[in-house]
């Protein structure tokens, strides 16, 4: 790091080429900075006529490295506790299968977060955001893909659960896995006078087959 004075080069008289370089660079920088900030502004602002007009330019500048979302708890905070459980079907020696009990994946996360002043991303974000990813790419009615990336979300979710559950249960190999998602609306505060929320909604995903390749790298 070079030492600098931090003061204007007092009284320096620039030569013409220097003036040209500085003037040109200054103009480019000011315009470039302005355009960049405008793009970021249009990216975070509500969709509007200008951002629609320049959508390609704005997206080109912002994605992938300057993407940002600052709708922090806005327009409304999340009012739902989503919890995921998984259960597996294992192969019994006599050729039949056995369906195992539900494992509380979210419950494991919460147990790790409780009383922890610095929760890990492993507990606070990994499963939670994987579900957001899945939920955002699937139709809640029939679990059909709404986005080609949904396939990745399925793989991801499956591998998160399998990493926690393991390859076998009581010595029996896992053949299939199923997820159950319970969304419970936070009851309104006592003083609000609002009606109690409806009972938690339970959503069951289809059984997914489990193979050795699903465990690659899970350790």
């Amino acid at each position: 790091m070079p030492e600098t004075t931090g003061r204007p080069a007092a009284g320096r008289v620039w030569s013409t080429p220097a003036q040209l370089v500085l003037g040109l660079a200054g103009a480019v920088l000011v315009v470039g900075t302005g355009l960049f900030l405008a793009a970021v502004f249009l990216h975070v602002a509500p969709a509007n006529s200008v951002s629609r007009q320049y959508r390609d330019e704005v997206d080109g500048l912002v994605y992938p490295e300057f993407e940002q979302n600052w709708k922090l708890f806005a327009p409304n905070p999340l009012q739902q506790n989503v919890s995921l459980d998984a259960r597996v079907r294992t192969a019994v020696d006599d050729g039949t299968t056995r369906t195992r009990d539900w494992t509380g994946l979210t419950a494991q996360d919460l147990a790790a977060i409780r009383g922890n002043p610095a929760p890990s991303h492993v507990d606070q974000n990994l499963l939670r955001r994987a579900w957001d990813f899945y939920d955002g790419s699937h139709n809640p009615q029939d679990e059909a893909l709404t986005n080609p990336r949904g396939k990745l979300a399925e793989q991801y979710l499956k591998r998160i659960a399998l990493q926690r559950i393991g390859r076998e249960v009581d010595g029996e190999r896992i053949l299939e896995i199923e997820f159950r998602v319970t969304a419970a609306t936070v009851p309104p505060p006592s003083w609000s006078g609002e009606a109690a929320p409806p009972a938690p909604r339970v959503r069951e995903l289809p059984w997914w087959p489990v193979g050795d390749e699903d465990y690659r790298g899970l350790g």
Binding site: A18, N69, L72, F73, A118, A130, R159, P188
Partner: protein
């Protein structure tokens, strides 16, 4: 990175709010207590003439404040140009932002050290195969797929730790901020489904810091009178490494010169450009330290720094303004119960009893909910008044500390505090530095 792609960004509102809950922010803040300003020293009302660096923190932005008397327009243009080219504005703020983000990321990396392989490494459920399919889509920069295995990952992770330490200390900052950028982006883009608002801020600042002269004060670089031979060796080594990555055939599409989409620029021009400029800088400093070319480079560096500081400042403003203005539209913020809900989200209540207590009464919940929106919406405008701005900074810092504790989001909160530092008054920073020095001095044994 909070969102991953255009697709995820435009998902249903539940998705957005789920994200939002991760990113929280000032909302859950503490109310403005009477003694709240104790931490802020007297500098608040002091005039800029005591201030050796009337930059970002003191005035409105990284631009010099208004001149004391009204000069002619030609004169003020000349002054503005002189300030723009002549010095790095907000040097102390830049240093604090550098130290702050270095510390945040360092703390994060050390905290997650036991989990690193599951988060970003060879044991991630987001397997390299899945990651590469997404990366081929969105083109985000990461070096981790170059060599998939564990040794390479461990090398990158521990380089990230070293880069964060170097950034905190301000050691060879021109190089270490670039390494910081490379490692932050590499890890975060390896799995974009892990981050929250805190990661997002670190990600952005890692890019912006590269363009600032953030080691002019409070750094090892500032202590070292001359750059010496070590710098040249480092420069040569980094050049060789960059060349190996560029021409080694393993970097895939990450080090291209051009890009398919607007603005058509790849990463190679940035890295090589920085490398060439560093070499030019050293050479001119050797050959003609007082010559004009070197002075031109210095002025160019100042201009780039000043633009980057403006970007950082505007980024912080955008964060608060976005958070605030979108809340205005929310029914829960309007009815004054918004604060209650995050305090009852399982993932963000490490201390459920405490959260329930804070969210238990009508009036505090209402006041904090409304206060949060008011503060966030007002923040950009308070920059017009130094005193009000400083009060708000103190309030928001307190808010962030409250969030860190209550919602279990220390990384996010500390990152936001580090970002806010761009607006801290220079007087306060110097005062704090003097205090720290005084604390340290008595421990030094008297010779």
């Amino acid at each position: 990175m909070s969102e991953v792609s255009p697709e995820t960004s435009v998902q249903a509102s539940v998705e957005v709010s789920a994200e939002a809950s991760a990113e929280v922010s000032p909302e859950v803040s503490q109310p403005v207590g009477p003694g709240r300003l104790e931490g802020i020293p007297r500098q608040v009302g002091q005039s800029a003439d005591l201030d050796p660096d009337p930059g970002v923190g003191v005035g409105v932005g990284p631009w010099p404040g208004p001149a004391p008397r009204r000069p002619g327009s030609a004169e003020s243009v000349a002054r503005a140009m002189a300030a723009f080219t002549g010095r790095a504005l907000g040097r102390h703020q830049a240093a604090v932002v550098r130290i702050g983000f270095g510390l945040v990321w360092l703390a994060y990396l050390l905290r997650e050290w036991p989990n690193r392989r599951v988060l970003y490494g060879d044991r991630s459920p987001w397997s390299m195969d899945l990651a590469e399919r997404l990366l081929s889509d969105n083109g985000a920069f990461t070096v981790l797929p170059w060599f998939g295995g564990r040794p390479w990952f461990e090398l990158v992770y521990h380089l990230a730790v070293l880069a964060a330490v170097a950034v905190v200390l301000g050691w060879r900052t021109r190089a270490s901020t670039v390494l910081f950028l490379v490692t932050v982006l590499s890890l975060q883009n390896r799995n974009v489904f892990l981050g929250d608002g805190g990661d997002n801020v670190v990600h952005l600042m890692a890019v912006y810091l590269v363009f600032t002269r953030c080691a002019e004060v409070w750094s090892l670089d500032a202590r070292r009178a001359r750059s010496g031979r070590g710098g040249v060796v480092l420069w040569a080594v980094l050049g060789a490494v960059l060349a190996a990555c560029q021409f080694g055939g393993f970097a895939g599409d990450s080090l291209t010169w051009t890009a398919r989409a607007f603005p058509y620029v790849g990463w190679a021009p940035l890295f090589w450009g920085l490398w060439v400029v560093a070499g030019l800088w050293w050479t001119l400093g050797r050959l003609r330290p007082d010559g004009e070319p070197r002075a031109v480079l210095d002025a160019l560096a100042n201009m780039v720094h000043n633009c980057a500081m403006l970007v950082i400042a505007v980024e912080v403003v955008l964060i608060y303004a976005t958070a605030g203005w979108y809340k205005v539209q929310g029914s829960r913020w309007q009815d004054g119960t918004a604060l209650y809900y995050p305090l009852h989200l399982d993932y963000f209540t490490p201390w459920p009893g405490l959260s329930a207590l804070v969210g238990s009464a009508l009036l505090p919940v209402f006041l904090i909910s409304y206060g949060t929106v008011i503060v966030q919406v007002a923040f950009p405008f308070t920059l017009l008044n130094r005193r009000v701005k400083n009060v708000l900074l103190a309030v928001m810092t307190a808010e962030h500390l409250g969030i860190a504790l209550l919602l279990g989001l220390p990384v996010f909160s500390l990152a936001m505090i580090a970002a806010d530092a761009v607006f801290l008054p220079t007087g306060a920073l110097l005062w704090l530095a003097a205090r720290l020095r005084r604390i340290r001095r008595p421990r030094v044994p008297v010779a």
